[in-house]
């Protein structure tokens, strides 16, 4: 059995900052990591591999991104993936949801056409849009289950526990299918030094658009139905009074007055 895990590399989100004067992004010192939800997906794939030994599961990690995305795939290999592909090509630059899912669809169906299950994170923490997995599933013509937290394999079907606003659902669908994971085991895995060492010897291939027989009209900026017309700094709200709170009694009193003056609390 073969599980493909689609992963994304993201900046460690809470560290991205904007230079207040120039309005440009400060990227220096911002680490790139494997998107946490993608790590949940990989974690689930490895868990399945470990618990269904009779199925002889192979876990393949695939990502699309610039060359430095290799480090995210390396982490996948450390954590238990058997091999990895990086779809990397200047032609992929500027891909929107449609073009990204087109490239991923081609990647999966050309590199691992005999896949049984695709696992992905529910969303990436840099964009949080949660749209690429579902659109990839649609392009591959396979069913999807989003917001999964646990997967069980039963012959040619899977059962997925899914988080909903109201609680949980147990869903079942046939394979091949795509599941997006919103949680993994409570504690992130840690590779052993042996796994770190071994991961350096596992296959990690870089695949270009040509390798996938994709021309510019199918991927990247040109193939993206959405286009960015303008970027601008977010409107800045002007802050109100900031008072010194080194005397807590006075500060609390002033806070109370503010709330009364603005009618959040009634005057007594």
């Amino acid at each position: 059995m073969k599980i493909v895990v689609l992963v994304k590399q993201v900046p460690e989100a809470d560290k991205v900052a904007v230079d207040p004067e120039t309005g440009t992004l400060i990227r220096e010192g911002v680490a790139s990591i494997l998107n946490p939800y993608c790590e949940y997906a990989l974690d689930e794939a490895v868990r399945l591999k470990e618990s269904y030994t009779e199925k002889d599961i192979e876990v393949v990690a695939i990502s699309m991104g610039p060359p430095q995305t290799k480090s995210a795939l390396l982490r996948c290999l450390e954590l238990g993936a058997d091999k990895a592909y990086l779809l990397s090509d200047r032609k992929f630059a500027g891909s929107d949801v449609w073009a990204t899912s087109t490239a991923l669809k081609e990647g999966v169906s050309k590199l691992e056409p005999d896949f049984d299950l695709i696992l992905t994170g529910k969303q990436a923490i840099d964009g949080d849009t949660a749209q690429v997995p579902a659109e990839t599933a649609e392009q591959l013509g396979i069913p999807q289950i989003t917001y999964g937290i646990e997967v069980k394999i039963d012959n040619k079907r899977i059962e997925v526990k899914r988080e909903t606003d109201e609680g949980y659902q147990i869903l079942s669908t046939r394979l091949p299918a795509l599941v997006t994971m919103s949680k993994g085991s409570n504690i992130r895995r840690i590779p052993s030094m042996k796994q770190v060492l071994d991961s350096r010897r596992k296959p990690l291939d870089v695949v270009s658009a040509d390798d996938l027989e994709l021309d510019e009209n199918k991927v990247g900026l040109k193939a993206s139905p959405t286009q960015v017309s303008r970027v601008f700094a977010p409107p800045t709200k002007v802050g109100g009074d900031v008072i010194d709170g080194s005397d807590p009694k006075i500060a609390a009193q002033k806070l109370l007055e503010y709330l009364v003056n603005n009618k959040y609390l009634k005057d007594v």
Binding site: A13, D14, V16, A17, V18, L25, D96, V97, W98, S101, D128, T129, A130, Q131, A134, E135, T136, A137, E138, G141, P143, Q144, I145, E159, D165, E166, G167, Q169, I170, L171, S172, T173, S224, P225, T226, Q227, S229, V231, F232, P234, T236, K237, G239, G240, D241, V242, D244, G245, S246, P248, K249, A251, A252, Q253, K254, L256, Y258, L259, Y264, V268
Partner: protein, 403 residues
């Protein structure tokens, strides 16, 4: 064009059974699928075919064809609350914005409403601004399913050719919209915070990029409809006009169980309704600055005095101190209460994007340079553990003097 790979086709008739428009049949003579003229390219059959025998080659639409797409659609998502089916709030918010867009375009505003027992929802949709409701009723739509809903709504879109379709960026909205975009090869802009029509009648979709550090305006010049999703609480809910009426059009739904590949085996509704931070009037929100989990007690104490709801920044959710539904921010919920207390929250941009639409923001933080002060209406530089106990004391004194 919908293409049939004659070699792959086995003549199994699944496509015939799933087509919402009876536009594909298996030719009794050749025993192969055959596409009829009334095909809308909705893509249902492509998904249903188990032999990869069907594919759609979508060509760029010419400018003249683009002009044929008219009207603004909103997906009418509903929810079941204590066995009652009600329209989700985000739909009303989208109707408010959709009305604006439709008026600018001089077109009409419609809701695509899919489900089973949903007739009673239409009236209210008219009150909130819809000119028309496409009612798609079917046994198999009793519960949300990706395949069922994607099929029906794609069919409506393929048949009616709207220029704009809006979705709430709810869990199901995020499950559905990309599926439709994938099927119809459309652009989709998720989590928009601004929508407008420019002079060339394009939909300009504005959304935060790079974690909210910059805003991007996005448009889809060559495809129709233009599709966007918007998070709950981003646009204001309009005032309903109870006198307003509209046109109800029942859209004939053809759906077969084989369309729906995913089955619900069990549904577990947690008894505990959970805290709904997105519906609270007053939110007391805590961040990393509270230091220890035990200190949350103080936050709850303050919330109780103010009759407020407790929320938190990502840091606290990551630590497992608060459950995910109580997270404010980009990877959590967008909230817009009347009053928002940011306690020990420095104000990373990912947090700010989730709460800037609050009416009044109060911030207490030790660090005078914390970005939260740039957007707070009232800020105190100081120690929350010194100030809040004093503030609680004052609130209690007021209550006592009230009695």
């Amino acid at each position: 064009m919908l293409e049939v790979d004659i070699d792959a086709c086995t003549g199994c008739k699944v496509c015939e059974r799933v087509c919402p428009f009876a536009a594909i049949i298996v030719d009794p003579e050749t025993k192969k699928a055959k596409v009829l003229d009334n095909c809308t390219l909705c893509g249902t059959c492509v998904n249903a075919c188990k032999f990869d025998a069907l594919s759609i080659e979508r060509k760029a639409v010419s400018e003249e064809e683009l002009l044929l797409y008219k009207d603004v659609f909103v997906w009418g998502e509903w929810e079941r609350k204590e066995d009652k089916i009600t329209t989700k709030n985000v739909v009303f918010e989208l109707l408010g914005k959709g009305r604006e867009l439709a008026d600018k375009l001089g077109e009409s505003l419609a809701v695509v409403l899919a489900g089973k027992d949903i007739d009673h929802l239409t009236e209210e949709l008219f009150h909130y601004g819809a000119d028309k409701v496409y009612l798609c009723k079917h046994e198999l739509l009793e519960q949300y399913s990706t395949d069922g809903y994607a099929t029906v709504i794609s069919s409506v879109i393929a048949a009616e050719k709207p220029s704009v379709v809006l979705y709430g960026a709810t869990p199901n909205g995020r499950d559905l919209a990309p599926r439709i975009a994938g099927r119809l090869a459309l652009g989709l802009t998720a989590d928009c915070t601004g929508l407008d029509i420019d002079e060339s009648r394009q939909l300009i979709q504005t959304r935060p990029a790079f974690g909210g550090n910059i805003m991007a305006s996005i448009y889809s010049p060559y495809t129709r409809p233009q599709m966007s999703s918007v998070r709950p609480n981003v646009f204001p809910k309009p005032k309903p006009d109870t006198a307003k009426q509209g046109v109800l059009e029942e859209f004939d739904v053809k759906l077969s169980p084989i369309n729906i590949r995913t089955k619900i085996i069990e549904e577990i509704i947690s008894k505990d309704e959970g805290v709904k931070i997105e519906e609270a009037n007053i939110l007391v929100s805590a961040g990393r600055g509270i230091g220890l989990k035990e200190n949350l007690g103080l936050i709850y104490e303050m919330a109780e005095e103010l009759d407020a709801t407790v929320a938190g920044s990502r840091a606290l959710i990551d630590l497992g101190w608060l459950p995910h539904p109580q997270q404010v921010g980009q990877s959590g919920k967008t909230v817009a209460p009347n009053l928002y207390f940011a306690l020990g929250i420095s104000g990373a941009i990912q947090h700010l994007v989730g709460m800037t639409s609050s009416d009044t923001i109060i911030a207490i933080n030790k660090d005078p340079d914390a970005p939260i002060f740039k957007i707070a209406d009232f800020g105190i530089v100081g120690d929350i553990f010194e100030i809040i106990p004093e503030f609680i004391k004052l609130l209690r004194m007021r209550k006592q003097s009230d009695l």
